[in-house]
């Protein structure tokens, strides 16, 4: 586990970086996020209205037009649905995690219950539109990624199908849904 602040390679399972005592993961939920401003894709904070990251130069504005998506994650507890936006790309990759000073996942689970058990960069969901293959990969999360109750090995992608139960840590479960609209009707 690499420290997001000082880059030190820590042993597995540390909560605070052994070198600089920065919070590594699951307790960082109380790290106050800047109330205003935006994070660039590499996690640098910028004042509101900035167009490019002042640190790394990455563009900050969402320029990609979103196409209505047929892929969704559904949270039973709160009855909320997270769309996985389709893009003009053959392979869609969504990093799922918790937004913080040092992470900017595509899908931010901060507002869901027990989100403190979700790692900043927890898992990646990949949709290959050419082969039709959909996989979920655990990104060395602290509390694990589960598909239908089975814990994934880190970096070993697991195939997903419509209706699978996916959990980011045992405490936050979603149902993966593919809605077929269009082709059959």
């Amino acid at each position: 586990m690499r420290c997001p602040v000082c880059g030190y390679e820590n042993r597995e399972g540390v909560v605070f970086c052994e070198r600089c005592l920065a919070s590594m993961d699951i307790f960082s939920q109380e790290l106050p996020s800047f109330e205003e401003g935006v994070f660039c894709p590499f996690g640098h904070w910028n004042p509101p209205g900035a167009k490019f990251c002042s640190i790394c130069g990455a563009p900050l504005e969402e320029t990609i037009e979103q196409i209505p998506s047929k892929y969704k994650l559904f949270h039973k507890g709160s009855n909320k649905t997270i769309p996985l936006p389709d893009k003009e790309e053959d392979i869609l990759r969504f990093v799922i995690g918790r937004k913080s000073a040092n992470s900017n996942p595509d899908i931010d689970l901060t507002d869901f219950p027990n989100s403190h058990t979700v790692s900043r960069l927890h898992a990646a969901l990949v949709i290959n539109k050419i082969t039709g293959e959909i996989t979920l990969e655990d990104l060395e999360s602290t509390n694990g990624t589960y598909v239908n109750g089975e814990r994934l090995q880190p970096h070993k992608p697991k195939a997903l199908k419509n209706g699978d139960k996916v959990s980011f840590s045992r405490k936050l479960e979603f149902i993966f849904l593919i809605e077929d609209h269009g082709e059959n009707s």
Partner: protein, 411 residues
């Protein structure tokens, strides 16, 4: 007497953990009973190099004379002057003839280079001339320059040697051309303190404050003795920190039976925080597991050595493990993280990596916002601004930030 209490960041541990679990222990040391007046054996080791000419040397003379006036007759004082070499201006004397001592101080002229180690060496020698167990031994080192004519390694050796002889060092840097890393180590290795004096006018007040602090010392040579069980070990990188009044990284020494941390002195009716950083293996027992035995050894002003009662550190193995962190311990960890990250910022700036330094500074800013430390927040924001504008920071801002991240409270 001193009492010790402790908290783990999390006193439970999951059963059958596969990785080592990281744990912090926050120790709270509290000194309780009033004790006799503190008797001082104080040595000034003063930089009289050419750069001290003018306002610095004049303010320094007044500052030392102030302190002499405030000392008691049975206290002891000695003064060493150093430039590119060192000499004894006033050998270890009682304070019965203050006028004579002050006249000697008035003679000081600023001239020559800088050799800190020779000054330290002669200072320790002078303290050693009069070494009674009832006295608090202290050395105040003041410099405005880098150790150009001396040997840094020797300084560090002497700082450790001072601690072995129950001598602590207050290291004061004046202006912006001194070496903060060297002075910090001199202070830390001797369980002393370090300060930054921006202007010569700050000398008198700082010297008076140091004397007040010294007069309040009630317990000295504190040693925390820890016997670990086989499930526990200390972090190799950062085994422990004295947190108050200034953050000092402490390294334990093995005495053949247990680990010993030198944790310095304590004032009357005061509190001191110490943070230990350890790793625990899967506990062997289903519920209560012993992690360590711990006692604190200290000397009082009669020179008597005492030990606190032995504390047993316990961790509870449970299936109902919850990763909750004790909030008080959490705040201390956060405060120490700011201190450590400041050092990382310094080395990133030295390597000319301002963007990486900014990322670390932003994390520090988050943390101090949470800790509600306005002064530190202002300084960190100034760092961020300067790096964004100029790619680096000025030397005095660097010094100020370094000392402020180290300073948790003024005694």
């Amino acid at each position: 007497m001193i009492k010790v209490s402790y908290h783990f960041d999390n006193q439970t541990i999951p059963k059958n953990v596969s990785n080592e679990e990281q744990r912090f222990v926050l120790l709270r040391l509290q000194s309780e009973v009033e004790v006799p007046r503190t008797k001082l054996n104080l040595c000034f080791v003063l930089d009289k190099s050419g750069s001290m000419d003018g306002a610095p040397i004049e303010n320094l003379k007044r500052a030392v004379k102030d302190v002499v006036d405030l000392m008691e007759e049975e206290d002891r004082v000695s003064v060493i002057l150093f430039d590119s070499e060192a000499r004894v201006l006033i050998s270890n004397s009682p304070l019965d003839r203050k006028k004579e001592i002050k006249n000697r101080i008035e003679e000081i002229d600023a001239l020559g280079g800088t050799c800190i180690d020779e000054g330290l060496e002669k200072g320790i020698e002078q303290i050693e001339v009069f070494k009674e167990k009832e006295y608090v031994n202290w050395l105040i080192l003041l410099t405005d320059g880098k150790n150009e004519h001396g040997d840094d390694e020797k300084c560090l050796y002497l700082a450790k040697e001072a601690r072995k002889r129950s001598i602590s060092i207050t290291a004061l840097g004046l202006g912006k051309y001194w070496d903060p890393t060297l002075l910090e180590k001199i202070a830390d290795f001797s369980s002393g303190r370090m300060f930054y004096l921006e202007n010569p006018e700050d000398l008198r007040e700082r010297f008076k404050k140091e004397l007040q602090m010294l007069k309040n010392i009630a317990f000295k040579d504190l040693v925390l003795k820890v016997k670990l069980t086989p499930i526990a070990r200390f972090s190799e990188l950062n085994p422990g920190f004295v947190v108050t009044p200034q953050i000092q990284r402490v390294e334990p020494l093995w005495n053949g039976e247990e680990w010993e941390f030198e944790v310095g002195n304590m004032s009357r009716n005061s509190e001191k925080l110490v943070l230990l950083h350890m790793f625990l293996k899967a506990p062997p027992h289903p519920y209560i597991n012993k992690v360590a035995e711990m006692t604190l050894q200290y000397k009082d002003l009669n020179g008597k050595t005492s030990n606190t009662e032995s504390h047993t550190l316990i961790i509870e193995a449970t299936e109902l493990y919850s990763p909750q962190i004790n909030q008080e311990v959490r705040e201390v960890i956060d405060r120490v993280s700011v201190y450590l990250q400041q050092q990382i910022v310094e080395s990133l700036l030295e390597e000319n990596k301002p963007n990486e330094a900014l990322t670390v500074l932003q994390t520090m800013e988050h943390t101090v916002m949470k800790l509600e430390d306005e002064e530190l927040k202002g300084l960190i924001e100034e760092n961020i601004e300067k790096i964004k504008e100029e790619g680096t920071i000025s030397e005095d801002l660097r010094l100020k930030t370094k000392v402020q991240t180290k300073m948790v409270m003024e005694e």
